[in-house]
Amino acid sequence: MSQAFTKAMARNIFYGGTVFFLLLFLALSFDTVSALPKRDNRANLTEAVAQGKKLWENNNCIGCHTLLGEGAYFAPELGNAFKRLGGKDGVMAFIKSRPAGGIPGRRSMPQFNFTDAQLNALAEFLKYSSEINSANWPPNVQG
């Protein structure tokens, strides 16, 4: 056998393998999407939660924080912030009380001047996020 492996066979494996695993991925994704209603807390996805998510996005919160572990690693995890800060009041009070000029020498969250309705929506969003079944992650309340 002069040639150990051929280009034609390598090509077949590339195309065949890609299609095969793409199909498998689609099958698993299909299963995931149909299994999600039991895990993703969609029952509690209210108008306020949707508004809170939009606020979360429009202020680029993910640029400093992680949410369920994804985002930037500059500021605390927020998937369980609702629990850590002691519920809705705690969340709202924390966001509201950030000094506009920052804290000398330390990292500080900006003051976003949210209205009460907006604060409420953000807190609802974090509450909804904290109730997603994330397979017991984060490991503890510190996130």
Binding site: A4, M9, L24, A27, D31
Partner: protein, 187 residues
């Protein structure tokens, strides 16, 4: 007797085979060690599986593997006709496997079993379905080879393609040989 340096078939398929075997090995180990933490659950739900179907499927796969051996032997003697016949017989055994296994899945799905039902079913479905897809892929490969044999595309001098398809199919068989006792019998 002079021995060969490389296994039969194109070496590229062997790289693919080894990668696939690695995945299955990891899943087998994962199954065994997860079972360790959930022995009762595994033992309980193992009983809901159909061992008769598994027997038929095992026989189907080893038989079809044997047919593929005969196909390779024929093409080495320039017997395209024989090779083609054995290959289609092997594919038919593969189809038999698909039907039986499909019946098992239909039974489980109608009972509402999904990947998320419990850890045992998660492994059962993941492992067997992953293997199931390999059977289908193997059949596609064998069919492509058989068609080319039918067109007289292989000979005693040049039949790497037949050996390549055969090696892949034996891998599909090999994986099932471990899967069968591990999931259906060992408890």
């Amino acid at each position: 007797m002079q021995k060969n340096k490389y296994p039969p078939g194109d070496l590229a398929i062997w790289i693919f085979i080894l990668a696939e075997l690695l995945v299955f090995a990891a899943f087998f180990g994962a199954y065994a060690f997860t079972r360790l933490k959930n022995v009762e659950l595994f033992n309980y739900y193992q009983m809901t599986l159909d061992r008769n179907a598994a027997l038929l499927n095992t026989l189907a796969l080893i038989t079809s593997s044997y047919f593929v051996v005969r196909a390779v032997a024929d093409i080495r003697e320039d017997d395209s006709k024989g090779c083609k016949r054995w290959l289609w017989a092997a594919i038919a055994m593969g189809a038999f496997f698909i039907v039986i296994k499909g019946g098992e899945y239909a039974h489980h799905f109608s009972a509402g079993v999904t990947l998320s039902s419990n850890t045992f079913y998660m492994f059962y479905l993941s492992l067997t379905f992953f293997h199931f897809m390999h059977v289908i892929l193997g059949m596609v490969i064998l069919a492509a080879v058989a068609l080319k044999v039918g067109r007289g595309g292989y000979s005693a001098d040049e039949h790497t393609g037949v050996e390549t398809g055969a090696s892949y199919w034996h891998m599909v068989d090999l994986v099932w040989l471990i899967l069968f006792p591990l999931i259906y019998v060992m408890r």
